[in-house]
Structure formats: C-alpha cells, structure tokens
Assembly symmetry: C2
C-alpha cells in the first residue's frame, strides 16, 4: 500500500488512536478490544478495524490488540520516533501560547526558532526561544532542514509567510490564520480555527 | 430529515463552505459551480453536492449556486444568525489569546465571562473582560443561559471544569486541554489540539 493510497481522513484519526492507547497504558491496560477502543473514541469497532486494516494485521481475532505494540506501530507509521523541528512565525498572543506550551516538546515537536516583525518582541526570550526579526526567516531556516512551520500571524500576512517558508523547504504548515493557504501539492497544511469548531457545534444547539 | 440524521462529518464541513462562500462574495462572485467550490476546498464537486443534498436542493442543475443565498441558507442551518455567548475558564496563555481574538466577536461568538483560579489574573481586565475567581462559575453562569464553554485550563483540571459547566447548562464545549472529556450525550465537545494536527502531517514527511 502506497502512502497516498490511505485516505487522509484515516490518517487524521491515527494520532487520536495513539493518544487513547497511551491513556490506556497509563491506566495499566495491556490489551484492548476494538469495541473498547471504539467506546473511548466515540466511534464504531468496525471503523477502527477498517482504519487499521490499511496497515496490515494488528492483533488476533478475538484476543484484542496488544496496547504497547499497536501504539508503537502507529507511532512508527506516523513517523513519531524522532524529534521534529518547528519554526514559528508570529509572536502575538497565539504564538506566545505555543512558545510556552510544553506539550509540544513532550510529544516530539521542538520549536527551534520564532520570528516577528514587531520591535516590541524581537530580541525577547519567550519559552526559551529568542524572537528574531521576520526578515531573517531565510537566513535562519533555509539551511537547517526544518520541516514544519507554525503560522500565527494576522490573516492578511499569512499567505506571504507561507510562501517564504515553503521556499525554504518547509513541508508542513500548522496554520492559525483564518485563511486558506495556497501551497504546492507536496506541502501539508493543517488549519486550526476555533470559530469553525464553534460554528459546527451551534448546529446542534437548537 | 432530522437533525441527527445528517452525518456529523458533513456538519463539520458546512462552516468551511460558509467561509469559502464569504471569500467568494468578497471577490465579487455571485454564482459558483460545485467544481469551483470543490477546487477551493480541495475536495470533489460530488462530495459538495452530496453534502448539500442533505438539506434539500440548492441551485439549479447547470447554473451553479447563488453565492449569497447558499451562504445564508448554510448560516441558518448552522444557527449562525444570532450572537452566541461563551464562558471561558482558564486565563493562561491560550485563554489570553482567545480573550484578545477579535475574530470571535466578528463571527458571532461573544465571550461574556472569564474565570481563573490564580490571584495573578483574577480582577485583571483582558480583552475587555474582567477575570473572575473560578469559584464564581456557578453564581455567574448558571442563571444566564450561556450555551458554550471554552476550556483552557491544564489537562488535569479540565474534566472537573467540564462537569461544572455542564451542570450549569452549557451544551457545547471548545476544549483546548489535551484530554478526552466525558460529557452527557446532549453536550457537544470540540477538541483543539495542535499536537494531533502535527502528528497527522508527519505521516507525509517521510
């Protein structure tokens, strides 16, 4: 099975499986059935079996999945057995929150550089990282083989920042700006927009 | 068609359609085809037609959708023609970012109260809202028919906060804590976890 033959929606569920398996492990469980996993994840056992079947057979019929080995397999499929470097552009309130968030580091993502255009933050050290002038993106990032960019600038600047990051070899963008970014096909974009989440929930509120 | 007969995944795409139609409107377009919408949204025209078909017929065969009328219909389906009140619990960096974010207000979501347990922030005014002691959640929220809660507290406190909000009548939770919240069936939860988004993208990076 080739990488791009697995539906994207399946891939987007795998990190949730890893998170849940991790939780089960902390609770001392070593084996889990697809129905128990389904219950935890508010989905059906058959969807879980279908999702996992893209990657070969895990677990034996009737005896459930081995928690550690399934978690390790999924982590390996998701390429989580390494530290990924992240460059962050935009040190407003959201950027500051990300720089202070220790969950990134614990989960294998290290912010190695942060940029802003405001003299108010350039030179300040936030969450251990010294904020640099946004003019230095190319000088700092292009040589370093950084794969991931986090964009936390205002909407109107986001596309220009994305273009510069992509030109420097960034292949995955975590985008907090409420705009659709145009990027080449080989670049992944994940949008984080709380308004879209709220607008979905209000459907159910009447 | 009853509310819960529409697949949740379809509902979660509607806000994106609204966002894109809004963008088209700003570009001066009054009619859009399902292929053009599909291109903008990086999906197929047939998925868009299938999604919209849950809500009856929009647009005539061959002539495309009227941008304004489709947008208004979807906004109405999502209950976006009103202001929704939001109570926020946890004024750390993420909470501060949300209190400062003017996109909420512009899109119909008004944070009307913010709570924290730290004397460092209680009493401070942030983004126009005075932060209150978390002990006052019930006194402030239960009477006010607030429907939506935003949880931006550390993971270990999130479930307890969710329980209190639900007891006060909150029916939708925007959860920034990296934990699965247990809530009654009638309560919606949307999780915002940048790590899960990153962990999905790394699948494609090797």
């Amino acid at each position: 099975m080739k990488k791009y033959d697995v539906p994207d929606i399946v891939i987007s569920r795998l990190p949730l499986y890893v998170q849940t398996l991790n939780q089960l492990l902390r609770e001392g469980k070593s084996v889990v059935s697809s129905s128990e996993l389904g219950e935890r994840l508010k989905t059906t056992p058959s969807q879980i079996r279908r999702d996992l079947s893209y990657f070969g057979g895990f677990g034996k019929k009737g005896s459930g999945y081995d928690v550690i080995s399934l978690m390790e397999s999924l982590r390996s499929i998701l390429n989580l057995n390494q530290i990924w470097q992240v460059a962050l552009v935009g040190v407003g309130h959201v950027g500051m929150a990300l720089l202070h968030y220790d969950g990134f580091g614990r989960k294998g993502f290290e912010i190695i550089a942060a940029f802003d255009q405001s003299p108010n933050v350039i030179g300040r050290k936030i969450g251990g990282i010294e904020v640099q002038d946004v003019e230095l993106i190319e000088a700092e990032i292009c040589q370093k083989h950084v794969d991931i960019g986090a964009i936390t600038v205002p909407a109107e600047n986001a596309q220009a920042v994305a273009d510069r990051l992509v030109n420097c070899g960034i292949r995955a963008i975590l985008n907090y700006a409420p705009v659709y970014l145009e990027v080449p096909k080989h670049v992944q974009v994940s949008n984080i927009d709380p308004v879209l989440k709220l607008q979905k929930m209000t459907y159910y509120l009447k």
